[in-house]
């Protein structure tokens, strides 16, 4: 098996249900160059090193082949995940201003009761059914509702922004075209989403500013130069998309994994270990994460020598986070799902300055979702194992997760 063919197999849709044996193969060459000239990194120590290496940029505009495609262009300026410090850090601080510490430390904690109400309502809606789709009936609507409330985006607009969001997720799939072509598509979709947010902002221009994140973005400061309107639109669009596309998969992967590990599902159902759910979520982020790879948006500003390979300046680099989290260098017996691991320093949310912005939201969402599902769905059984998967190799998750149940138990007090 040559290096490139392993990579091609990983990208190939037919391996979506279980890419892990291919990751084991991939890790035999920690850093490898693949057909399109980019570099793929798959081992834990090397990924961690690169996540903290300031010679690695997230700004595609450094690449000569990108020309002006990723620039201000016809769309919007790059959102903060496609920027480097200090711009990245400034925008991230502004986005954090109304979201979390230091300025709003209790905001997410204060959302927990509301999250449980939403989850309880969605599960109540399943009463009377014997077959449910965890994706469409639960894992999708839940985080969408949460992010809409956080941004004060009308929930009924969902069909409209969902199409745009789908388009954005689509272009993150490296098999759907060259990086320049996908970036062009991406900018188009971003521009449309930006337009949508522009409309929202215009509509509430004469209303008093609310406590939602979007209103916060317009007034946030904390000593930093505020964002331009175009930057607010670009980053609001990113938060809306990233705020649910990934959590859908984390919750669904979680339910699938619990159904495959009934002893853990049973422990969650019994509810005798108050810290179990949090550890289940972390182990899921290691074992079945929603984000499998950071696609080739990262690029080298200088030569980087790593694991015996010199990645030349100006190269695109893909970090296969999900392969790194299953590296025996991180934890013993990595292919086992074990929420009782003593030390779980996984790569589920990345690392370094680009560490997942939404992690503090995704964690309680998934914790509450899985706890309530475990405690309320009576005798859940997988209808198909493996379930049908979405095509995307990077943002990986089931398209549907059909589960047969005997009944829905009432919510516990």
């Amino acid at each position: 098996m040559t290096g490139s063919s392993v990579w091609q197999q990983i990208l190939d849709h037919s391996h979506r249900a279980d890419p892990y044996p291919l990751y084991t193969e991939l890790r035999k060459t920690p850093v490898r160059q693949v057909e399109d000239g980019s570099y793929v990194v798959s081992t834990y120590p090397e990924i961690v090193a690169l996540l903290h290496d300031p010679r690695l940029s997230s700004d595609l505009r450094h690449l000569p082949e990108m020309g002006t495609v990723s620039g201000e262009g016809p769309g919007l300026p790059p959102s903060f995940i496609r920027l480097d410090p200090p711009e990245h850090d400034r925008i991230r601080r502004l986005l954090t201003w109304d979201f979390g510490p230091p300025h709003r430390p209790g905001r997410v904690d204060g959302m927990l009761p509301d999250m449980r109400v939403i989850v309880t309502g969605l599960i109540d809606d399943l009463v009377g059914k014997t077959r449910v789709d965890i994706v469409d009936e639960f894992a999708y609507p839940f985080p969408v509702t949460v992010i809409c409330r956080l941004l004060d985006v009308p929930r009924e607009d969902e069909p409209r922004f969902q199409a745009l969001s789908d388009a954005l997720i689509q272009v993150a799939d490296p098999t759907t075209g060259s990086i320049t072509e996908r970036d062009r598509q991406r900018n188009k979709a971003m521009a449309n989403l930006g337009q949508y947010f522009g409309g929202l902002l215009d509509a509430r221009a004469d209303q008093p500013a609310g406590d939602d994140l979007l209103s916060g973005l317009l007034r946030a400061s904390g000593g930093d130069e505020p964002m331009t309107r175009a930057q607010v639109l670009a980053n609001a669009a990113l938060l809306l998309v990233a705020g649910h596309e990934t959590t859908v998969n984390l919750i669904t992967n979680g339910m699938l994994t619990l159904l495959r590990h009934p002893e853990v599902l049973d422990r969650l159902r019994r509810g005798e270990e108050p810290d179990l759910a949090a550890r289940v979520v972390e182990e899921l982020l290691r074992y079945e994460p929603p984000v499998h790879l950071l696609p080739e948006t990262r690029n080298t500003l200088d030569d980087i020598e790593i694991a015996g390979v010199t990645i030349p300046a100006g190269s695109r680099v893909t970090l296969v986070l999900a392969a790194g989290s299953r590296d025996p260098a991180l934890t013993p017996d990595p292919d086992r799902f074990d929420p009782d691991r003593a030390h779980n320093e996984h790569l589920g949310f990345g690392g370094g300055v680009h560490y997942c912005f939404g992690a503090p939201l995704a964690r309680p969402e998934t914790r509450i979702a899985l706890t309530e599902l475990a405690q309320r769905l009576r005798n859940p059984r997988l209808v198909a194992d493996p379930p049908p998967y979405r095509a995307n190799p990077g943002l990986r998750g089931p398209r549907h997760l059909f589960v047969d149940i005997d009944a829905v138990d009432p919510a516990r007090p």
Binding site: R55, P86, P102, P105, D275, L301, E345, F349, R363
Partner: protein, 533 residues
């Protein structure tokens, strides 16, 4: 509940502060303050924070554990262990407790005695000069978890006064002798007191080292003093000054050196710290000494006379004059002990006055000085939390391991300081430098990485609110990468050029990392008896 955050590992991801906002609080981008003794009501949130920490740096009801000890280490000790029936640890400290924990975990079943001069069990010091002073955590709450779980015979409140190396006995102040087969010296440091005894006794003149010191100072600060004088702008002094400003207490900080932190980080970075303190309203006076502290008839501190000619009214004076190593009790014992601590090899075995390594006496923590290959095998004396933990673990492991399984303490020195909204972190030895350069970030925003070089190689890096990049620079130090760094990175300032580091030529009293220059060149050493400073 007992919470400890290994802030050496922490990179400021703030996930704990999202999960348990009442217990963990962020200051600025990365600086974390936490309550080390929160109520049971917070348990669930804290467990979530523990699980969520991206670098797994939060310890609940555990006292340490940087090294993941593999199970194989406890195998094959039988023969060695049978010869060691009694282990004595002198110093009921973070290092001492950590050693006890590792000894038991690795299977040592003999008698374990812990001797400490303070009356209370081991405690965690970093919060004492930070969150305790501003009332975010209690001083008593810093007692380390699980101190009572390791089947240890405690001798607290009884200082060791001597060591009989030949007879393998520790001599205690009450005249008792404690026999040992192996012994660990972990007596650490104490705060250097204000040198003039009458003034040092004034009500209002304090030092800060113990929980009692911290609680006393907290009360004085909470009472709203008219002005606090901080004498010495090392890390402790700077943290006390920052706590004063956080409480909106007026503070003057004086230092005889050119800038705050200059002894540890050099004056170039020290001047950046100076601006930070001034921006927060500290009356900072460098190149100035306190000539006298004067009290009233009731013995209360009233004013200070400074070498710049001014006299100021002050209620409280904090002497942050650095520390003194607790080695007096070893006088005459024949070990290589002196003002910079007790010399040991990289395996933590104590060295005797002739430079010969002993078999049965080990050293760990602030009182130890050990040769480091990255720094030309010069002996380092460190006052860092992370070093105390790591060195204690290695010492404990080596105490009960056969020769072929011993470890070397080769970790790069690392430390942190929290001041205002700045998390200052360091890796390597910043004083082992001739030049410094700022290749990443912005000094104006006080978000930057400074890289230190010595004779063309990188020897240290210091980050202000940029700790996520630090491990990259640690890698460069380990590789002896060329200085100045010449590669292209994100966030490069427009003007990158090395300047003289302005580190002290000789170790100063406030340095936290000191290369003491004890080289193996001497064939025979003689200890000169002299008063300890």
């Amino acid at each position: 509940m007992k919470v400890i955050v290994d802030l050496t590992r922490c990179q400021g991801y703030a996930q704990c502060a999202f999960a348990a906002p009442e217990v963990f609080a962020m200051r600025g981008d990365e600086a974390l303050l936490y309550d080390s003794d929160p109520g049971q009501g917070q348990r669930e949130r804290i467990e979530r924070a523990v699980a969520a920490c991206p670098v797994q740096a939060i310890l609940v009801d555990r006292e340490g554990g940087r090294h993941r000890l593999s199970p194989e280490t406890s195998r094959g000790l039988g023969e060695e262990m049978e010869r060691i029936g009694r282990i004595v640890i002198v110093g009921a400290s973070l290092a001492g407790l950590r050693a006890a924990s590792v000894l038991r975990r690795e299977g040592f079943a003999g008698s374990l005695t812990m001797i400490g001069d303070e009356a209370h069990p081991p405690y965690d010091r970093p919060p004492l000069s930070k969150q305790v002073l501003i009332g975010r955590a209690s001083a008593q709450g810093t007692v380390l978890p699980r101190h009572d779980e390791f089947d240890v015979r405690w001798r607290l409140g009884v200082p060791a006064t001597g060591l009989d190396l030949g007879g393998k006995q520790v001599i205690l102040a009450d005249g008792q002798r404690v026999r040992f087969d192996r012994m660990l010296i972990a007596t650490g440091l104490r705060a250097r007191a204000w040198p003039k005894e009458t003034a040092a006794g004034l009500d209002g003149v304090c030092t800060i080292r113990t929980p009692e010191d911290a609680e006393g100072l907290r009360r004085r600060l909470a009472a709203g003093p008219s002005r606090v004088l901080v004498i010495g702008a090392g890390f402790t002094g700077c943290e006390v000054a920052a706590a004063c400003r956080e409480l909106d207490v007026l503070v003057t900080m004086v230092d005889r050196g050119p800038a705050p932190l200059a002894g540890a980080l050099g004056a170039v970075i020290g001047r950046i710290a100076a601006q930070m303190h001034r921006d927060h309203g500290v009356d900072l006076r460098c190149g100035v000494q306190v000539e006298a502290l004067e009290g009233d008839r009731d013995g209360r501190l009233r004013r200070a006379r400074l070498s710049d000619g001014t006299t100021m009214e002050v209620d409280v004076a904090v002497a942050a004059l650095g520390s003194v190593r607790n080695v007096e009790w070893l006088e005459g014992a024949g070990l290589a002990a002196g003002p910079w601590g007790v010399a040991c090899d990289a395996g933590c075995r104590a060295v005797d006055a002739n430079g010969v390594v002993t078999d049965d006496v080990f050293v760990a923590g602030d009182v130890a000085r050990f040769p480091h290959p990255v720094y030309g095998f010069q002996y380092l004396a460190l006052e860092h939390w992370g070093n105390a933990v790591a060195q204690a673990e290695i010492a404990a492991h080596n105490m009960i391991s056969p020769q072929s399984r011993r470890w070397a303490h080769l970790a790069l020195p690392e430390f942190w300081s929290t001041q205002y909204d700045a998390e200052i972190k360091s890796v390597g030895v910043p004083t082992y430098a001739d030049q410094v350069v700022i290749p990443q970030g912005s000094v104006a925003q006080r978000r930057f990485v400074a890289v230190y070089g010595y004779r063309g190689r990188i020897t240290a890096a210091v980050a202000f609110n940029q700790s996520k990049w630090l491990e990259f620079y640690a890698g460069l130090i380990n590789q002896a990468a060329p200085f100045p760094p010449s590669f292209r990175t994100v966030d490069q300032p427009p003007d990158v050029h090395p300047v003289p580091a302005e580190v002290p030529v000789r170790p100063t009293y406030q340095a936290t990392v000191v290369v003491t220059g004890h080289t193996p060149g001497q064939r025979r050493a003689t200890l000169v008896r002299r008063p300890y400073l």
